[in-house]
């Protein structure tokens, strides 16, 4: 029997995802038409003998999360539970705190995955690889190749070329170490808890030595820095390298990129989710998801990489490209929406143009990843995708360029390169 743990974090995290994370927990933000974490759940549900999925995080129990979990449970026919941490315990601390829950029922192994990654989730190949590389005494990290400069932003893995054993692990190094990076998806045998326990005890001892450091809880454990670095080179940690698509989803800009990756997967996994040009329907270019309840005028032109949410209205002659339109939004006639996330219940007026600058990875470098860009560079807002928060109103005929509009704003003119509070 197998299990899976999805680390969903909490409201204090994911600030780079603001203002969208004000409205909905980031793991529920729709990517390619479905909540970010549903892609994980669906991948888990396809693994034979995977009986339970545990979401661990520090969100207060909320309506959005529980109704999503209920629905997912029915749809994917797998047990799903949310386990709430009393505070942010780190990637290792969370699973250690809930180790009894994870181990109950006696799984041979369990996956651990971060919610804010987009991946093809090669879980079954990881299982096979695990069996061939040590089984119950070993642990597997999913790795992928990055380019040299971007590798510094990730956990870097040096592995034995033949055995794939991890010889060295370092999180976000200052200088180049390896172009194999940690994808944030792991397969652990239950014995991993012994190694986490060692870190826990070491923390406890250190805490007793320092009087004034009560803020640093012994339970806060990071898998990457605290566990993997010590396990490397001990014949227990292996890397399974994937060539499949993978990206972090840190910033709102990367949500559009992740949507593109998932939409292109739909061609083989969910062709029914992809819209196509039909008699009397809108013109579709490339991969587009349209929620069945959306109302799209036949003269609109959508795509590539567009996701239209529940109850969205798209007027006559509207153009949408490389964008996510969230539920209840209204795009009025002749408006043009490019590289933008249109927030829930927002309105874009007639002939308005809402445009952002894509932050896509370099298309000429197959190993390039999306930069989780900093908002400001040299005191200036870096041009990025445009985000309209929830319930924003854009008047007719204006242009909104490379801007972030916080929720519940009614704009009255054009804006460029600004954050509008």
């Amino acid at each position: 029997m197998l299990k899976a743990v999805i680390l969903i974090g909490g409201p204090q995290k994911g600030t780079r995802f603001r203002p969208l994370s004000f409205e909905v927990p980031k793991p529920l933000f729709p990517v390619a038409g479905v909540p970010m974490v549903q892609h994980h759940i669906e991948a888990c549900s396809k693994v034979p003998n995977l009986k339970e999925i545990l979401l661990i995080g520090f969100y207060q129990p909320n309506e959005a999360l529980s109704s999503f979990l209920l629905k997912a449970q029915q749809e994917f026919k797998v047990a799903i539970r949310y386990l709430q941490e009393y505070s942010a315990l780190g990637t290792g601390g969370g699973i250690y705190h809930f180790r009894d829950q994870i181990l109950s029922g006696g799984p041979q192994a369990f996956f651990v995955m971060n919610a804010d990654v987009c991946s093809a989730f090669p879980l079954v190949p990881m299982l096979d690889f695990h069996k061939q590389h040590g089984g119950s005494q070993s642990y597997v990290i999913l790795g992928t190749t990055a380019n040299r400069s971007q590798s510094l932003n990730y956990g870097c893995i040096v592995a034995n070329g033949e055995t794939q054993e991890v010889l060295h692990y370092v999180e976000k190094p200052g200088t180049f170490v390896s172009d194999i990076i940690n994808c944030g998806i792991y397969l652990f045998s239950p014995s991993i808890f012994q190694h986490i326990a060692e870190v826990f005890q070491r923390n406890q001892q250190e805490l007793q030595l320092e009087e004034n450091s009560s803020w640093q809880r012994t339970e806060v454990i990071r898998l990457e820095q605290d566990v993997f670095t010590t396990l490397a080179g001990r014949g227990k940690l292996y890397v399974y390298k994937t060539e499949g698509c993978w990206s972090q989803i840190k910033s709102a800009g990367s949500a559009i990129y992740a949507s593109r990756l998932y939409l292109s997967q739909y061609g083989s996994t969910h062709p029914e989710r992809l819209a196509s040009t039909k008699e009397g329907g809108p013109t579709i270019r490339g991969n587009v998801y349209i929620h069945p309840t959306a109302n799209v005028d036949p003269s609109a032109v959508l795509g590539p990489n567009v996701s239209i949410g529940m109850g969205v209205t798209v007027g006559a002659g509207v153009r949408i490209r490389e964008s996510i339109v969230l539920h209840g939004a209204v795009l009025q006639d002749h408006s043009c929406v490019l590289n933008t996330i249109v927030g829930w219940d927002s309105t874009v007026g007639r002939w308005a143009r809402v445009e952002g600058t894509p932050s896509d990875p370099n298309p000429n470098d197959p190993y390039s990843k999306i930069d989780s860009e900093t908002l400001f560079r040299e005191g200036k807002l870096t041009p990025s995708i445009t985000i309209l928060g929830c319930n924003v109103s854009i008047p007719a005929e204006v242009v909104i360029l490379n801007s972030i509009v916080l929720p519940h704003k009614e704009l009255s003119r054009s804006f460029k390169n600004q954050i509008i509070l």
Binding site: A316, G317, H334, C336, W351, R353, E355, E397, V399
Partner: protein
């Protein structure tokens, strides 16, 4: 009667339009700039127009030959070997201007207004001195050279360049009528009529100012070209409202050539000129623009305060604003944003221009 029009050089301020066509032939409200002036002159009894040009243009000569026939007047070209300023060309055309003793008109070629030529003749004959300048009122006289004159008679006392303290709000509008005697004051060399000739005439009591009624604009650069268009269309509204296009989807003063085609669900105006053979596809929004002959605006594009040069193409969902000027035969690809772009002729634009700049 005769008139001398100071056409001058290459019209660089109105580029990129003047890279394809000499400035006098650039269409302003569906008629070459020069014809606005020449037709008004003919109406006032002028039968010989002299164009003072400092460069050779076959296109201009050919067009003027045709206009000679059409209007039944004589049009001469007076070529300057070197630029002669605003006064020198009068000396160069001396022979033509002194064929008889009638007063003659002189005008800057960039001026658009309700040309008061008949009134100028009356005013000039009434005071009987050498020259009359038409003056127009401006809001910010400190930016210009102003004319100080006696309110009753119009006799000019002096000129003040960029006054820091208010002395007058009337400026030289670039329209003059002179008696042939004025030619004795001008030598054949580069000379500024405003700085070198007028002050002396004023001092001798030979120069009078006549105040212009109605609008006036120097349309020598794109921004002013558009402002001038708005003024001109408003005056059309008063004098010839039947020239303007009305109907659903049209707002305010809009001039549409009868050969232009307009699609469904467009919103056009106020202050738009659409030239012959232009195609405006469905769902296009245009305000404060000139669209020149043979251009095509594809569906759902949005244009404000822009000039689309001859035979250009603007793609679907393009947004153009802030005095974007497309030269002749420019193609703007779909979905682009042009903010204050100045695009030279025969270019194909495939990337947005978010900040004003020149596209070579």
């Amino acid at each position: 009667m005769k008139a001398l029009i100071l056409v001058g050089g290459y019209g660089t301020r109105l580029r990129p339009l003047t890279l394809s066509v000499p400035k006098p032939l650039v269409d302003f409200c569906n008629k070459p700039i020069l014809l606005h002036q020449v037709e008004a002159l003919v109406k006032a009894g002028v039968n010989h127009v002299i164009l003072a040009v400092s460069y050779m243009s076959d296109m201009l000569e050919k067009e003027m030959k045709e206009q000679e026939k059409r209007l039944g007047i004589r049009i001469s070209m007076s070529h300057e070997k070197e630029p002669l300023g605003t006064a020198g060309p009068l000396a160069l055309a001396r022979e033509l201007l002194t064929e008889n003793s009638d007063p003659f008109f002189v005008l800057n070629s960039d001026v658009i207004c309700d040309f008061p030529f008949e009134e100028m003749v009356r005013f000039h004959k009434h005071h009987g001195k050498e020259g009359t300048i038409v003056v127009t009122k401006v809001e910010e006289p400190s930016k210009y050279g102003v004319v100080v004159y006696e309110a009753e008679s119009g006799q000019i006392q002096r000129f003040v360049e960029k006054p820091q303290v208010f002395v007058s709000n009337k400026i030289n509008s670039g329209l003059y009528i002179f008696s042939p005697a004025v030619l004795d004051r001008i030598q054949l060399r580069p000379t500024s009529i405003e700085k070198e000739i007028f002050p002396a005439m004023a001092q001798e009591g030979q120069l009078f100012a006549m105040e212009l009624q109605g609008f006036w604009m120097d349309i020598g650069q794109p921004k002013d070209f558009l402002t001038g268009m708005c003024m001109y269309l408003q005056s059309v509204r008063q004098k010839h409202p039947e020239w303007l296009h009305v109907g659903p989807g049209f707002i305010g003063n809009v001039l549409v050539d009868p050969t232009a085609k307009i699609g469904q669900n467009c919103s056009i105006g106020p202050n738009v000129t659409i030239g012959p053979g232009v195609t405006v596809e469905d769902g296009v929004r245009i305000k404060r623009c000139t669209i020149m002959k043979g251009s095509r605006l594809h569906s759902h594009s949005w244009l404000e305060s822009s000039i689309v040069g001859w035979s250009s193409s603007v793609g679907q969902w393009v947004r153009m604003e802030n005095v974007t000027v497309l030269g002749e035969d420019v193609i703007v690809n779909d979905e682009l944003y042009l903010n204050g772009a100045n695009v030279l002729p025969h270019k194909c634009i495939s990337e947005s221009v978010p900040e004003p700049r020149i596209i070579m």
